[in-house]
């Protein structure tokens, strides 16, 4: 049966709805990612699930029981913030042990276990203020897991970390959630993160859920141009232009830069408008006759300059059909 | 049950109980012979250890002393608490405030039965306190003079109030202000008694003060700074050898073994300042309170007064300590102003004085 049911939830502040009639379901053991730009209401939704925001309408149920009126500290959920919010006056071990003490089951072994799980074995006696950002987030995660929550809520947990750390931690997070079988809801504005960690993704824009599905589904078939743009598709084409790129399509398509690759002897001719170096080569702006200006990429071995005439091919990996 | 609530509630109950118990303890049991009398006085009250205990030995009643600020605050406290008296006996009402106390009805009718004709000079006029107040001590306020300074300078010392106006004493006199200091007020009253009413540019005390100001008198806020900062006496570094202080100040400056006093009092400039004791109206222990008033007038206390309160006893049978007998003098004919006159004119006198002396 569905673990978490969010049914018609609306939360308003000063008359405007931050969360507007949202309904979602979550299976036990599933990780749901809520993806959206800032101001989309995703954090508010997460806080409502935790019980920190009052609902103006709708209900929230856990395994069928209505928990809308249950106070925060009794829901048995855990919430992890973007900046950890560790207790500065306690050590790492004391922070992690906090929920254990509340439940009256203090256990050194459990703390050590959790520290090992998040890759911080031996850090128990360190002062929280001495840790780096990534380390703090891991301690926060360990603390949340120590509470043995029925549901783990994560509010942009990796946003404050640098790229490399973020990628690594996202992988770790996925692994830990799988190993522990935790049901989780995870909020972010970064699609790489969402896709790396979640089983299912809900895209939220302007307080409403616009699309749900597995990451692959959402990725391949964004429900609207707005969603496509949020996901990083830079251009949306319709009608003839779309058919030029993908002859079989009968609706709109969305393209990212990776859709157009500059190559020798490609089927389509184009002119380079401008090019900027990037990590993997070049990012180019191409003028394609019959379509207009599109973004594209060129490999590092294929330097291009403005005004040059080149040929390009279309790569399916960068093309999505709007449903 | 939440821990914080428990401890808070507990503290609250403890506080209330504590307050109730402490207030209960201070209530004297009503009845013919109480175990305790409350003596309300000002914060200059002081007697040697064991003196008040002698009263307890004689009567079996303990005396609890409650201080209430200075003399002015004392009287005001009594007036404000007329409906629920602060205690049984009051000591420390002086002649400048006596009328206020009498007119407000804070005193019961009792003057010590041990008073004799010899103390007549200290008694208040009939109808203005004679029946309610017993004189206990007398601390005349006089101009003090630094003998050593004058000896060194080779100038004659002044003797009277008029002398203070002479040019040779320009910038040599300091006095505390009349509106913020009790000796200051006493000095003002002395001038009022001496010169009577007048105008600022004419005669009377107002004229006197104008001339005094022209002659460079310094007016300080309190006795402490006049005596310890501006006076040139042995205890301070000031440069003015004439200061308004008490007739009992010179003996205090005498060091052990000295044969002469470095300072003295000008006896023609003194204002009589007497302190009285009385029974507080509304007390439940009238008979016991009367005994305490008598005790204060007895030689037991009177002999103890000079060394502890720096004032002279009024009881003619009291004996003065040696230094006092040698170096202290009491004025024969000090200036006096009737207490009810003081009460009636206090405000106008002080504001007139302020206009002239502190423009």
């Amino acid at each position: 049966m569905t673990a978490l049911t969010i049914d018609g939830v609306t939360v308003s502040f000063d008359g405007t709805a931050a969360v507007d009639d949202v309904s979602l379901g979550l299976e036990p053991g599933e990780v749901l990612g809520i993806l959206g730009p800032s101001g989309s209401g995703k954090s508010t939704l997460l806080r409502s699930i935790a019980g920190l925001e009052r609902l103006d309408a709708g209900r929230i149920a856990w395994h069928g029981d209505d928990i809308t009126a249950v106070p925060v500290h009794r829901r048995g959920f855990a919430l992890m913030f973007q900046d950890g919010q560790l207790f500065p006056h306690r050590t790492v071990a004391q922070n992690i042990a906090y929920p254990l003490r509340i439940a009256r089951t203090p256990s050194h072994a459990r703390v050590a276990e959790l520290l090992a799980l998040v890759g911080l074995a031996g850090f128990g006696d360190r002062r929280v203020t001495e840790l780096s950002g990534g380390e703090q987030q891991r301690v926060a995660l360990a603390r949340s897991l120590a509470a043995e929550p029925r549901l783990l809520l994560l509010d942009e947990p990796l946003s404050s970390l640098d790229r490399e750390l973020r990628e690594r931690l996202a992988g770790d997070l996925r692994r830990i959630l799988d190993e522990t079988g935790t049901t989780a809801v995870f909020v972010t504005h970064d699609q790489d993160e969402a896709f790396a960690v979640s089983d299912r993704v809900a895209v939220m824009i302007g307080g409403r859920v616009r699309q749900t599905g597995t990451p692959a589904e959402v990725w391949r078939r964004p429900a609207s141009a707005e969603i496509a743009r949020f996901l990083g598709y830079t251009t949306v084409l319709g009608g003839d232009a779309a058919r030029l790129v993908r002859p079989r399509s009968d609706g709109a398509i969305a393209l990212r830069a990776a859709a157009l690759v500059v190559t020798h002897g490609g089927p389509v001719a184009a002119t380079v408008v401008r090019s900027t170096p990037s990590v993997d080569g070049w990012r180019v702006r191409l003028a394609v006759p019959g379509i207009g200006e599109l973004d594209g990429i060129a490999g590092a071995q294929h330097p291009v300059s403005a005004g040059e005439a080149v040929t390009v091919r279309f790569d399916d990996a960068g093309i999505a059909e709007l449903s | 049950m939440q821990t914080r609530n428990k401890s808070l509630a507990g503290a609250g109950i403890l506080l209330a109980v504590g307050l109730a118990v402490s207030s209960c303890a201070s209530d004297a049991a009503p009845g013919a012979t109480p175990d305790k009398l409350v003596l309300v006085t000002h914060d200059s009250f002081n007697l040697s250890e064991g003196t008040l205990e002698k009263f307890t030995d004689e009567t079996g009643i303990e005396v609890e002393v409650q201080a209430s600020g200075d003399a002015g605050q004392l009287v005001n406290s009594l007036v404000l608490t007329k409906d629920s008296p602060l205690g049984d006996v009051v000591f420390g009402i002086d002649n400048t405030f006596a009328s206020r106390a009498v007119n407000e009805g804070v005193l019961a009718d009792y003057a010590s039965k041990d008073l004799t004709d010899a103390e007549e000079q200290y008694l208040l006029p009939a109808g203005s306190g004679r029946e309610q107040l017993t004189p206990i001590d007398n601390g005349d306020v006089c101009v003090n003079v630094d003998h050593e300074w004058f000896a060194e300078a080779g100038i004659d010392e002044p003797a009277t109030l008029d002398d203070l106006l002479k040019p040779e004493y320009k910038d040599l006199f300091v006095t505390p202000a009349a509106n913020s200091s009790s000796p200051g007020l006493a000095f003002l009253l002395a001038t009022i008694a001496a010169f009577g009413d007048g105008t600022a540019d004419g005669d009377g005390w107002q004229g006197y003060w104008s001339k005094l100001v022209d002659n460079g008198v310094k007016i300080d806020a309190g006795w402490s700074d006049a005596y310890y900062v501006d006076f040139s006496g042995p205890s301070s570094d000031g440069d003015r050898p004439l200061v308004v202080s008490y007739a009992s100040s010179p003996p205090a400056e005498v060091t052990e073994g000295a044969t002469e006093a470095p300072t003295g009092a000008l006896l023609d400039t003194c204002f009589r300042q007497t302190e009285y004791a009385g029974v507080i109206a509304g007390t439940e222990n009238q008979a016991a309170a009367e005994k305490l008033v008598d005790f204060l007038f007895s030689t037991t206390v009177q002999n103890d007064i000079p060394e502890n309160m720096y004032v002279f006893p009024v009881n003619v049978e009291a004996t003065l300590p040696e230094t006092w007998a040698q170096f202290a003098a009491i004025a024969d004919d000090p200036f006096v102003v009737a207490p009810d006159e003081i009460d009636a004119n206090r405000e106008s006198w002080l504001s007139e004085w302020a206009a002239i002396a502190t423009p």
Binding site: A50, H89 | S26, N46, D237
Partner: protein, 555 residues
């Protein structure tokens, strides 16, 4: 669609809030508001009817208007001077790091807690003709009062602004410097706006203290300068003109409330700025700091002068230089000046101050916890702000009014506390309470709400969140506040002199008594006792400084 659902707070929470707010309200209500209202009422209610003609009459007197103008003028000027001098000193003492810094911080606060009567005498000794600074001819002038007011209050600015400045993130200034702004420009356009709330807060506190200053004005202003406070004293004690005194008390209250509103506005703007760990901040002094250092040294010298004068005077005995006066502290003074030896009085002072501090801490902590909540409704938020202001009022009302007020209100059993020894620590606690709140409250309001939420989500019921987050974080500041409250209680004189029992005098009361008696040895003892009082205070504050690591607010 279901209607708005409310998560109801547990009944225990409501009880805790009521108690938490109730204790301070009761304390301030019974021991402050009631006596003051009673005294003012006595003056304004003639024969049972409200008689406001007094306002017209008293306020129209030229003397009254002059006094009001003088009060406000002198307080405003002193506030400005304190801010101008206090800022560079705050910079040196709280932004730089050097040896002896902690000691200097303690010394700067010292004048604040010295008894005014002693300071008055010390200043006059320096300023009178023939004194060390006699050639400046400042005796009895407005400038002398200014000097004394600055002497007492510059510490307020230094401490308030300093502790805020210390914890500010430097990166905004660094960003501006990188953009090309000169140090002066950076200071004017970046630093100053960020410090503005603290500066305004400090300035209004100083204004409050100065406008109700009593002893200083009386002693140094001589008779030419008075304030509303000295006038109230005069009217009450000399003339028992309760009507006039009440009118002036109400006027004083109005002025005070206005100032508090301004201060509250300034404080309200202080949102959670990024704080850094103050223990690690602080840089080595550079050449550019020279002007600030010069000012600090000059002002420190100025502050030290009267204290050194006192010290020197205390070492002068009848037989020349020596410790005779200190040794005499074990006696009751020559000719039985005192009831108990001075050391006993010191013991009394310490004991009473401990009680007063405990009381101020309990009430202050409860009040701060309540005021730091952020309720949703505007009405509740406004009441909390009002409550905050009410707690500050004891600083702005004449001690005479409160003292007499005690007499006429606390006189019915079981509340006949007039002769009870518990009244002295209560009066001292009333004065220390605002300072405690001003120290603890900023720390509480600076706690990130999400930390409380984290604890709640992890399973802590509301009372536990309070204990594990709020109370844990406020632990160090409470220690700091207690040290300061203790020092203030130790030196408190106005209310204590009214209420203290003659057999249990406190040290300031004893000093006052000794200074009021003729005889050089008593005077010497008084000065020696003052030095002891000052030394004990410095020790207490220095101790507190050691524990102060990481606090955020002062006033």
């Amino acid at each position: 669609m279901t209607s708005r659902v409310r998560v109801r707070p547990a009944p225990g929470t409501i009880l805790a809030i009521v108690l938490g707010a109730g204790v301070p309200v009761a304390f301030v209500g019974v021991f402050f508001a009631w006596p003051v209202a009673a005294m003012v009422g006595r003056g304004l209610f003639v024969d049972g009817a409200l008689d406001l003609t007094g306002f017209g009459e008293v306020l129209a007197r030229p003397r009254t208007l002059r006094l009001i103008g003088l009060t406000i003028g002198q307080a405003a000027l002193a506030s400005v001077v304190c801010v101008v001098l206090g800022l560079p000193i705050a910079h040196v003492l709280y932004r730089l790091r050097f040896r002896g810094q902690r000691m200097l911080r303690a010394l700067v606060v010292l004048p604040f807690v010295l008894p005014t009567v002693v300071v008055g005498v010390a200043f006059r000794t320096l300023l009178r003709e023939g004194g060390l600074l006699g050639s400046l001819q400042l005796d009895g002038t407005f400038a002398a009062i200014m000097l004394a007011l600055v002497f007492f209050n510059v510490a307020v600015v230094v401490r308030t602004v300093g502790t805020t400045w210390e914890g500010l993130d430097k990166r905004q200034e660094e960003a501006a410097r990188v953009l090309g702004a000169s140090p002066v420009r950076v200071w004017l356009t970046v630093t100053l706006p960020r410090l503005a709330p603290a500066i305004t807060s400090a300035a209004s506190i100083v204004f409050l203290f100065c406008s109700t200053a009593f002893g200083v004005v009386l002693v140094l202003g001589g008779t030419k300068f008075g304030t509303i406070e000295t006038e109230i004293y005069l009217l009450t004690t000399q003339f028992l003109d309760l009507r006039g005194a009440s009118v002036l008390s109400v006027t004083q209250l109005v002025v005070v409330v206005l100032v508090l509103l301004v201060a509250a506005r300034a404080r309200g703007r202080r949102t959670a700025q990024r704080r850094v760990d103050s223990a690690r901040s602080g840089r080595v002094p550079r050449l550019g700091d020279l002007p600030a250092i010069v000012v600090t040294v000059a002002v420190a010298g100025f502050l030290a002068l009267p204290i050194v004068a006192l010290l020197l005077r205390s070492l002068r005995t009848a037989d020349g230089w020596g410790l005779g006066n200190y040794l005499a502290l074990g006696t009751t003074g020559s000719r039985n000046a005192l009831v108990v030896p001075v050391w006993v009085a010191l013991g009394n002072s310490l004991a009473i101050a401990v009680q007063a501090t405990a009381l101020a801490l309990v009430v202050g902590l409860a009040a701060s916890l309540v005021i730091s909540r952020r309720p949703r409704s505007l009405g509740l938020r406004r009441s909390l702000a009002g409550f905050d202001a009410v707690l500050m009022l004891p600083l702005g009302v004449s001690a005479v009014t409160v003292g007499f007020g005690f007499l006429i209100t606390l006189n019915t059993p079981p509340f006949d506390l007039r002769s009870s020894p518990v009244l002295v620590p209560i009066a001292q606690a009333l004065v220390a309470l605002p300072l405690v709140v001003r120290t603890i409250l900023p720390v509480l309001t600076g706690i990130d709400g999400r930390m409380r939420e984290s604890a709640a989500v992890l399973g802590s019921p509301p009372w536990r969140v309070l204990r594990d987050v709020d109370l844990a974080i406020v632990g160090r500041p409470v220690l700091a506040a207690s040290g300061f409250a203790f020092a203030v209680a130790l030196g408190e004189f106005g209310a204590t002199s009214f209420l203290s029992r003659p057999d249990r005098p406190t040290l300031p009361v004893v000093i006052f008594r000794l200074i009021g008696l003729p005889g050089g040895d008593n005077f010497g003892m008084a000065i020696a006792a003052s030095v002891v009082l000052a030394a004990v205070t410095v020790a207490v504050i220095a101790l507190v400084e050691r524990l102060r690591v990481g606090t955020m607010g002062a006033f």
